[in-house]
């Protein structure tokens, strides 16, 4: 992006004109904690502004406010110098703000054209004429992007990057002024990413303002004109991309000078534990690439990484929820290749999933039924008698041990608080007595008190010899870990011993600032 187009220069030169988009002093808090605190950003026509920050820095919240999905507690938004009220996605669409998310909201069974038509301003009746007009419009959009997607192919048959282009194309059907792109290249190949950069150039030349959110700092530096860094919900700085480096950006993101931890390798000799799970070269492209590590008996291992680094995908491979393309595992020295979570559970490996409501619980069922679900799932013989009284007793024991606050064990889990629901999900797997427990974001949406209790439980389980793998985006949580693995873009890039596993160091490793590229 070194050759900046003339139009672009003009746009940049016209500093006196009102910015295309301005967000001023935006604050937003969720239950007492500040997600955003007086954050301001400004975007000119033809400018690419990157938003950077660690997990939870407030980037997504800012974009959600702009999209009308969340409402700000304080602050103002100006579009073309005029104050804008955005209280719903409809409002933001009317202001010609477009959003292209990772989770593409396309209809898989519709063709690319049909999907793009949904973004069209042509709200006329569905006659032949309109279709033709929409098609012409779609062609124009593609012309403008310099990128063609087969319009009559169903979206489900398109590659991920083509789908993304359809989604982008759809947002441009409405002649967007501002396009916000959230982690666009997360599942792209290099070549596809290059094509995206070309498209961004085109958009810039057309005077579209682009808000670019990405964890990949090299990419940010290549694509954007300016970079705004957020940290813990606060604005840190905005710097021109041309005058900064990955290292400086990481410093801003982390919040202080990043020490060089290359010496970490020497410290890696933690006390040797009896091996339990050994993973060799586990691969499922593009999210998990050649991952190898070991977990010992009674060891708590953290798995750090940015959102989208492939941590959940790795966990799903370990329990057989997805099939690996390559690699092998052993449990206690025995080959371990589960083809379903059932088999993993039978072999003593359980995954406590990330989404407790959609993946963990039957909300309309009782605490007892939920606590027994994994025990039912681990049972091979389906006609084996189910004893309600015994299951109630085992549930009560778990309720007591985990300190789950219930009025009665027959209460529906939907009535429990987030922390207690989480304890039910963890408890249901612990009931089966696993040898390895994988916890994916165990404390999301859990209040501070329950959080500490959950840490205590994890510690006590490990003391009994259970091995634990904790995935978390809240790096402070890794305080309970014996060591922390770091994943970046599908690869395991570091193995950090406990005494070095503090938040700042892990964050910089996640952004790839440390020189260490492989586990020594």
């Amino acid at each position: 992006m070194n050759d900046i187009s003339p139009e672009h220069r003009t746009a940049r030169g016209a500093a006196s004109a009102a910015p295309l988009l301005e967000m001023k002093n935006i604050s937003k808090s969720f239950g007492g904690s500040h997600a955003l605190d007086q954050v301001s950003i400004s975007l000119r026509a033809g400018q690419v502004l990157a938003l950077c920050g660690a997990n939870g820095a407030g980037k997504s919240t800012l974009v959600k406010i702009l999209a009308g999905l969340e409402s700000a507690d304080e602050g103002e938004i100006f579009v073309d110098g005029e104050r804008a009220e955005i209280s719903s996605p409809r409002d933001s669409a009317a202001l010609r703000l477009s959003f292209v998310h990772q989770e593409l909201n396309l209809v898989p069974k519709f063709t690319a054209l049909q999907n793009m038509a949904m973004g069209s301003d042509e709200q006329g009746t569905w006659g032949v004429l309109t279709t033709r007009r929409v098609r012409r419009q779609a062609m124009e959009v593609q012309e403008r992007l310099g990128y063609r997607v087969p319009l009559d192919t169903r979206v489900e048959d398109l590659s991920l990057s083509d789908r993304w282009m359809v989604s982008l194309g759809r947002s441009l059907m409405r002649s967007g002024r501002v396009v916000a792109m959230d982690e666009p290249t997360a599942s792209f190949t290099d070549e596809e990413a290059q094509r995206l950069y070309g498209v961004i150039d085109e958009l810039q030349r057309d005077g579209v303002g682009i808000l670019y959110i990405s964890h990949r700092l090299e990419e940010v530096l290549q694509v954007s004109d300016d970079v705004t860094v957020l940290r813990n919900g606060r604005f840190v700085t905005t710097v021109p991309a041309s005058s900064t480096s990955r290292r400086v950006l990481t410093q801003h993101i982390v919040g202080r000078e990043v020490a060089d931890f290359t010496a970490a390798v020497a410290d890696q000799e933690t006390e040797p534990t009896e091996g339990r799970l050994s993973v060799q070269g586990l691969t499922r492209a593009p999210k998990v690439l050649d991952v190898s590590f070991d977990i010992g008996r009674g060891e708590i291992v953290g798995l750090a990484g940015l959102v989208g680094a492939g941590r959940t995908e790795l966990a799903r491979l370990i329990v057989g929820a997805d099939a690996p393309q390559a690699g092998a595992m052993t449990m206690d020295g025995e080959p371990f290749a589960p083809s379903s979570p059932h088999e993993a559970l039978v072999d003593g490996v359980a995954l406590v999933p990330e989404e407790r409501r959609s993946q963990g619980l039957v909300l309309a069922d009782t605490v007892v039924a939920n606590l027994n679900m994994a025990a039912i799932g681990a049972e091979r013989r389906l006609l084996r008698p189910f004893r309600p009284r015994a299951s109630t007793v085992s549930a009560q024991r778990m309720i007591e041990r985990f300190g789950i606050k219930v009025r009665s064990e027959k209460q529906n889990v939907i009535d429990l608080s987030g922390g207690n629901q989480q304890k039910v999900v963890v408890g249901k797997y612990v009931v089966t007595g696993p040898k390895l427990l994988i916890l994916d974001e165990p404390t999301v949406g859990v209040d501070v008190g329950a959080r500490a209790e959950i840490y205590g439980l994890i510690r006590s389980l490990a003391d009994e010899g259970m091995s634990v793998l904790v995935i978390s985006s809240d790096f402070e949580e890794f305080a309970i870990c014996d060591r922390v693995l770091v994943m970046r873009s599908g690869r395991l890039v570091d193995d950090v011993p406990a005494h070095l596993a503090h938040k700042d160091h892990l964050t910089s490793l996640c952004f790839g600032t440390s020189e260490q590229e492989q586990i020594a």
Binding site: V319, H342, L345, L363, L382, R384
Partner: protein
């Protein structure tokens, strides 16, 4: 397509639900409202027609009328509990009667052999349903509609479209009309199967797994439950019950008409959905389904005894379904809001 017809409850503040007076009475209405309907129905008709309705003979008659509908509806309950649908049950029942009579007439099958044959057939059709739904990943509604239509085709291929009557139907007919301790055999079949299926659903690992799959298939899968296998078994149980119904239906007349069992499809769905509002918060269960079937039978019986026109039966059944499920759902929502 989940087994619960619970309205989505807003995730806001799940902390401590305060139980208010209106909340608890609403909850009561949601759970016992459907039973209240049955009680009222019995009370009113008993007052209106004390001599004909409130008699032991009529009670037995009503149970006998309910037996076949209950068997097919209990089977359907398995599919519904697992979060699936089965639109082929009526067709399977029809085919079952035709196959049973054909085997007895043309191949000299004994009655038990014919029964075993149609049960196996029903089971296999259920496996096909389950395979299409899980392996081919076709929606249950579409899959069972397709399989059901194929079943109609087989039925016509076997029967040539005309009813099949046994030459010597007495022994077969006796299955439906013989009584033990004054109660006809089909009632025993209903009770025995009801107990068996209740045990299967509530006292086995399989039944618990089915309820988990119906409640949240993703959570069930991640809890180690083999979701696809469970679904296939549910379809198989459902179809086998439909085949049993068809067999018993044919034994009433000693002959099988090509479409004899078709009408059970809608009544089974109506009973199971009405039953989901009985005692439980919108979950399908065996006892609820049986109550649903009996409520419909009592209603039909009352309509006949009071001397109302036949069309009242449809009005009654339709309204019962809508009110039973609708009021239950509304009451629960009110209870949750209170």
């Amino acid at each position: 397509m989940t087994a619960t017809i619970e309205p989505p409850v807003s995730p806001a503040e799940p902390a401590q639900p305060t139980v208010t007076r209106s909340g608890s009475s609403m909850r009561w209405l949601g759970r016992y409202g459907a039973l209240l309907v049955l009680g009222l129905l019995i009370a009113v008709t008993s007052i209106l027609e004390p001599e004909t309705f409130a008699t032991t003979d009529n009670a037995i008659n009503i149970l006998n009328q309910s037996a076949l509908a209950a068997i097919i509806a209990m089977g359907l309950t398995f599919a519904l509990v697992t979060g699936e649908f089965d639109l082929s049950i009526g067709n399977v029942a029809s085919l079952s009667g035709v196959v049973a009579c054909t085997l007895m007439l043309k191949s000299d099958f004994s009655i038990p052999m014919a029964l075993a044959a149609v049960l196996v057939m029903g089971f296999v059709i259920g496996l096909v349903n389950g395979f299409v739904v899980t392996y081919l990943n076709v929606q249950a509604l579409v899959a069972t509609l397709g399989v059901g239509t194929v079943v109609i085709g087989l039925n016509y291929a076997i029967s040539d479209g005309s009813p099949i009557s046994l030459d010597d139907p007495d022994a077969f007919i006796n299955l439906s009309f013989n009584r033990f301790l004054g109660i006809p055999y089909p009632v025993y079949a209903m009770v025995a199967l009801g107990i068996l299926l209740w045990l299967l659903l509530n006292r086995t690992v399989l039944g618990q797994a089915m309820q988990a799959v119906g409640g949240n298939p993703v959570a069930a899968e991640l809890s180690g439950i083999r979701v696809d296998r469970i679904r296939v078994i549910a379809f198989a149980v459902c179809s086998a019950c439909a085949a049993l119904t068809g067999f018993l239906l044919a034994s009433r007349t000693g002959s099988a008409a090509v479409a004899a069992g078709d009408s059970y499809l809608l009544s089974a769905f109506a009973a199971a959905f009405f039953g989901s509002a009985v005692l439980r918060d919108g979950q399908f269960h065996i006892i609820g389904t049986v109550v649903g079937v009996i409520t419909v039978s009592v209603g039909f019986n009352s309509i006949a005894l009071i001397g109302l026109e036949t069309y009242y039966q449809y009005l009654f059944q339709g309204l019962l379904l809508i009110l039973g499920v609708g009021v239950g759902s509304l009451a629960r929502r009110r209870a949750a809001a209170a």
